[in-house]
């Protein structure tokens, strides 16, 4: 019997007052905290008589250490960092400056190099970074500035009073598989905050609670996502220069799926490579981890990796619905920043600089609220005004219809993207609609049994142990670890749907879209279809793909006991 995680009821919880609680210590949250600290320091030196305190500003981070759950390509557009910390390059961990870039279109065996790199993918002046190392460094700055970062604490629930967000409840610790208190039980804290800033990253769990509670996205395009699966490789010297950047389109995907690969050369012969597969594919058997393995088998990639060694693995979803998919960014006592809001440029495959900038603008808004004592919806909606008048909007407006047009396939998408390029982002209309990715998933009955053109992307990979890997082997390299004896944090509303309907209609796609073997259909003769859903929650790498891609939308990802999760050292 599966027992799912939820905050225990009927217990007394420690209460803590807070001015600002930032949920999530990624680039957005850390930039927000740092900017807020800068503004307070400047205020305090100007106003010796009315000092603001930083003592009650907290960052909650579910990872045991800052940065451990951060995964990205990653290329950093330094624009926002230069605003936040001028001259940051001197001390930040930067792998390399982009020196050379190329875009390839791959067929099964061949490749075609685009004669000119399309402007959005020109990366001269950007930096290759490990987001994990970068955020660890940025987090150090935040702590030095005197802001408390609670590592190992997740936000498990938002607290409300009427339409106002009044705080965050942290995770209960020491609860066993059956939901009972263990001897080390420690109840979650209630942080009663004047302002809550949601910086949870992609598909934030509190952000989801907030949006659903007030139906905030009623007027937004549905958010669409891609699933990035990444491996870090150590290659023989000389294969790829630091700062060399390669993008590919095409193989192994067909023209029906959206996605592509990146390969970035870093320091010490370490190369970051990964594949982003749009979580709006049609065949439920498609497996994004499998897609990455197929990609590596392409002669071009296989030759690059020959003799190298895979050293890390990870996966994370990314929001690429763009401008029209943004929910309201602020309300009564809250703001949403970074990937949680969907601030990502899908054309450039970049969001870190926008996460940082949005964090800074939210900090400016929060600072005003602290000074005036007004954190109402009216006061905090200044955040949206700030975003609108900043370069965030300028950048995202130009690509507002980029992803939507690929819903009609690659060729139409490329044509339309070109059209947008010359019409300032408009293309054929000002606002192109989009479809929720899971609604595009087809039932098995409507698909060729052998998989048709997608056959090479379906189901589990065996792997040769050198170039390609089965999922469990890949997963081992994510370093993920959780307390085993705790309730399942993948909350399935109704497992009968899994056992009775999904298995027949879609063939249990959870087993395919999950990059970590969390979901498993195990033999069970008592079930009508002979199988039953079983969960391995301790395998989870916190990518959120299940919450996004499940065709019945009955899976809710909530944070497990704080401290658990992947170990994305160097990712």
């Amino acid at each position: 019997m599966l027992v799912f995680r939820k905050p225990l009821s009927g217990i007394e919880r420690p209460q803590m007052p807070a001015d600002v609680v930032i949920v999530g210590g990624g680039p957005a949250g850390m930039a927000c905290a740092l900017r807020l600290s800068q503004l307070i320091d400047a205020h305090n030196s100007r106003n010796p008589d009315s000092q603001l305190s930083k003592e009650n500003i907290y960052v909650l981070e579910k990872a045991r250490e800052v940065g451990q759950h951060c995964l990205s390509g990653a290329l950093l557009d330094p624009r926002s960092m230069r605003e936040l910390l001028p001259g940051f390059e001197k001390e930040a961990p930067i792998e390399a400056t982009v020196s050379k870039e190329a875009v390839y279109f791959l067929s099964e065996k061949g490749k075609f190099k685009l004669p000119i790199t399309p402007p959005p993918l020109r990366d001269h002046g950007n930096y290759v970074i490990s987001l994990n190392r970068f955020v660890k460094w940025l987090g150090g700055k935040v702590e030095e500035a005197g802001i408390t970062v609670f590592t190992g604490f997740a936000g498990s629930e938002l607290r409300f009073r009427g339409s106002r967000v009044t705080g965050v409840r942290t995770d209960d610790k020491g609860v066993d598989k059956e939901g009972n208190k263990k001897s080390n039980f420690e109840p979650g804290y209630d942080l009663n905050a004047t302002i809550v800033i949601l910086a949870e990253g992609t598909r934030g769990s509190l952000t989801k609670q907030l949006i659903n509670r007030f139906n905030l996205d009623w007027n937004s395009n549905p958010q669409t996502y891609g699933q990035g699966v990444k491996e870090l490789w150590e290659l023989p010297p000389g294969r790829m220069a630091p700062g060399e950047v390669v993008y590919t389109m095409g193989w192994p995907l067909t023209t029906r799926e959206y996605g592509g690969a990146w390969i970035y050369g870093g320091k010490d012969n370490v190369v970051s490579l990964g594949f982003v597969t749009g979580l709006d594919y049609q065949d439920p058997r498609l497996d994004p981890q499998h897609v990455l393995q197929e990609f590596k088998k392409h002669p071009f990639v296989a030759a690059l990796l020959e003799g190298g060694k895979m050293i890390r693995y990870g996966a994370k979803s990314m929001p690429y619905g763009g401008w029209w998919a943004l929910p309201p960014l602020a309300g009564d006592g809250w703001m949403i920043i970074g990937d949680s809001a969907g601030l990502l440029n899908s054309q450039r495959l970049k969001g870190i600089h926008l996460a940082i900038k949005s964090g800074m603008l939210a900090a400016e808004t929060a600072f005003q609220a602290l000074v005036t004592g007004d954190s109402s919806s009216t006061a905090l909606s200044q955040f949206r005004v700030r975003v609108d008048s900043s370069w965030i909007k300028k950048e995202l407006w130009k690509v507002r219809n980029f992803h939507q047009c690929f819903e009609h396939g690659l060729w139409w998408g490329l044509f339309h993207a070109g059209l947008q390029q010359i019409t300032g982002g408009r293309g054929l209309r000002n606002r192109c609609p989009s479809t929720r990715g899971y609604q595009r998933m087809k039932k098995l009955a409507d698909l060729p049994a052998d998989g048709g053109a997608e056959a090479h992307l379906l189901g589990p990979v065996k792997g040769d142990g050198k170039l390609t890997f089965d999922k469990l082997t890949d997963l081992y390299h994510s370093g993920t670890k959780h307390e085993e004896d705790q309730p399942a944090h993948l909350v399935i509303q109704n497992t009968d749907v899994c056992n009775e309907r999904c298995i027949k209609e879609f063939g249990s796609p959870c087993q395919s879209f999950c990059p970590a073997n969390v979901y498993e259909m195990v033999d069970d003769a008592t079930q009508p279809n002979g199988k039953r859903i079983s969960l391995n929650p301790s395998n989870c790498v916190h990518c959120k793909a299940c919450d996004i891609a499940d065709p019945y939308q009955i899976i809710t990802w909530v944070p497990p006991e704080g401290g658990g999760g992947p170990n994305y050292d160097g990712m």
Partner: protein, 331 residues
Amino acid sequence: MPDTILVIVEQRQGKLSRVSWEALTAGQSLAAETGWMLEAAVLGNGIASLAGEIASKKLSKVYAVDSPRLEPYTPDAFADALKPFIASRHPKLVLMPHTYQVRDFAPKLATAMGRTVISDCVGCKNQDGKLLFTRQMFQGKFAADVSFACEAPWFVTFQNGAFRGDKVEAAASPAPIETINAEIAESAIRNRPQEVFKEAKQAVDLTQAEIIISVGRGIKEQKNIELAQRLADALGGELAASRPICDSGWLPMDRQIGSSGQTVAPKLYLALGISGAIQHIVGMKGSRTIIAVNKDSEAPIFEVADYAVVGNLFDIVPPLVEEVKKAKAGA
């Protein structure tokens, strides 16, 4: 008469608990700061010699609170003995080590006296005449200073290791000892303690086993575990499993091998129906000899196995058990 600090010293079966000295060290340092008296009390049946041991430390007085009803320990008897004792001596501060026993009776005692406990403190200080006690929050990330808003007596417990027990100061001459014959009504004691429960020695220490029979998913059902057990018995080995088996509760967690369980290196590791994901391999690859039985000839376990048996474990294990028995009987 200045105010008094009373330290309640814990004894078990006639031996003082080591952590009690830590509470006494805390008492000595607070007494030095405040200029208050320092007294100690020990509870039990026939504890005169223990009181003598305490009296050798630097304090103003030791009480031996004695009653046959205090042995064996019950929270009712302890609270019942301490309440009138504390009420009559009215110490300002009552210090205790944060032991299981104290956690058991201290809330009851404080509540009975209409007071509160500041528990599990890691430090204390006297700030401008106000006593502050330090407690950890957020798993030690934060330290909160807490003080009493109520009337004395104030109850405080100290975390294990918060003070140095070996730093407790000895006295030049022993402190006076007063024996209090506590009157505890039999009806007050509602608990009937049984034998003291000793945590069972871990049933199995797989790291010490020379032969390990390990089962995986291939065992199919919980009832089939018995088959592997028979082989383990025949070989004189220990039973272990891969994660899914322990996760299903078919075997206890302490028999799990792999990255989320134990790492073992026996002389013989016999893997039955284990596919050999890397998470399992890292827990047993150091074994001297590995024999793997698996239906799938491409199972990764065979890459580390010294002997590979491709076949159905249900066909192979029963005759193997018989052969082992025969061989052992013959030997």
